[in-house]
Amino acid sequence: MSGFNVLQPGLLTLIQDAGRFGHHRIGLTTGGPLDAEAFSWANRLCGNQPGATALEVSIGGLVLEADVATRIVLTGAEMPLKINGVEQSRWHSHKVQPGDKIEVGFAAAGARCYLAVSGGFQITHSFSSAATVTREGIGGIDGQKLQQGAYLHCANTPAAKGYRLADEHQPDYASDVTLRVIQGYQQSAFSTIQKRIFFSSEYKVTDRADRMGFRLEGPEIKPSIDGILSEGICHGAIQVPADGQPIILLNDRQTIGGYPKIGSVIAADTARLTQLMPGASLSFEEISIDQAHNLYCLAQKRFERTEPEAV
């Protein structure tokens, strides 16, 4: 047996892989990393397959003790990483030995970090994924967030390769956030004036922001309809309930819902959204579905082309 002992689970640490797909029909949501870019880099810097099982650390406070010789990488928000009390860089692979203590402190900027290990954590899949969705009690260990005393199995890989990502390629979590939106769903129920308000105003993240959705606060927008027959909700969909305050629906969203939606935020930008803390401000910008597709493919190419350095 080899792996990590969880000495402190932190506020909200979740076992995640790329997510659970193909099971919406029985009401299961996707789960998976809120910041897919940081998650993908964590695995890549470990030399892992894309989507290998890693930890999503929200806010911070995770302490692990190694019971394995391997390599780890921490990417994402600015949470200080310490190994045996010595601060170490993020976006950089580090060797760990049995007995080493790994601490992820609290975030200075951003809200989510990803901790990957060479070969990934070994977690039994439920419905073809290890992704934890606590609302459903599915995935991870017993469908729960990481608990103190848990043991995270992984392979002993003392000779694993490791990489680092140069500073200029790392995302800047301190910058202003503009969420790019494709109009869709019931967008025609929002008048030109309502849309102008939506796309020209500043909104703030409220404290009702979690893995299901981020509720925003700002100028009200009102569709011409109150509700619709419940229908499938895609990732990033912007739902507008009766109070006129938009909610951006994320990885743990319910699969169907009956509030009007003005469109959807692209996934590249929901990744940035979920790095914001309550009180942060943001704005929206309209793009077409074709532009969104271009951006997605370009980002994918850029990810493939960017070669991390071996360390």
Binding site: G27, L229, D290
Partner: protein, 225 residues
């Protein structure tokens, strides 16, 4: 059929503006046609009352190709015989003990509890949608005589298997959860069992009837009190 953009990798198909067995049958038929015709482009499908969300793989195709393929594979469907769906019978123990709202619902409807049971178990329902929670199937439509609004204060804890009514919909709770529907009985069949194959006894588009059973039969069939 109307097609709208939903998101960067999703289109939504609308088959009607209202709930009906015919529209539900079309949704179900579209699911099986699309699954057969373009599995390599699909990430997931979300059928609901009158719509179908199609989530596609952005590295494999774009929305124009998906629209074209959808048109091709759904061609002629409007005229097709609407699929009947499977008929699934769910046993239900209706009683004041198993359904704490049975008596108040009957009173409001100016019916006896026996009449409520007779009406609820005489109808054939369609599975219009699955969502809210894993395995929660929305069944419609309930006879207007026994339709009842949601409770003003939702219960903290509704038991697994609770047979419930809200407006003109009925459902069986797949797991213990909070809930505001009117509880009229208990069903011993598990609506969501992660360890079983299939996980659910029904899918969207299926037809469901309820068969009244006794307390003893409920326990024999594996019901838990």
């Amino acid at each position: 059929m109307r097609v709208e953009i939903a998101g960067e990798n999703a289109l939504i198909l609308y088959f009607g503006e209202e709930t009906s067995p015919a529209v539900s049958a079309q949704v179900q038929q579209a699911v099986s046609r699309i699954e057969q015709a373009m599995p390599e482009l699909l990430i997931d499908l979300v059928p609901s009352y009158a719509s179908l969300l199609v989530i596609f793989d952005m590295l494999a195709c774009d929305h124009l190709e998906v629209r074209r393929r959808l048109r091709q594979c759904l061609q002629g469907m409007d005229n097709a015989e609407s699929g009947e769906g499977r008929l699934v019978t769910l046993p239900a123990w209706y009683d004041a003990e198993s359904g704490p709202d049975l008596e108040s619902l009957a009173e409001r409807a100016k019916l006896t509890p026996e009449e409520v049971i007779a009406i609820h178990s005489s109808m054939e329902y369609r599975v219009y949608a699955i969502g809210f929670a894993p395995g929660f199937a929305y069944l419609g439509e309930v006879d207007p005589r026994i339709a009842a609004p949601r409770l003003s204060t939702p219960r903290q804890k509704v038991p697994r298997g609770a047979v419930a009514i809200a407006d003109r919909q009925t459902a069986v709770y797949p797991a213990v959860s909070p809930g505001g529907w009117n509880l009229i009985g208990l069903c011993p069949t598990r609506m969501f069992n992660p360890d079983a194959e299939p996980t659910m006894p029904v899918e969207v588009g299926d037809r469901v009837t309820f068969k009244p059973i006794s307390r003893e039969e409920f326990i024999e069939l594996g019901g838990e009190l």
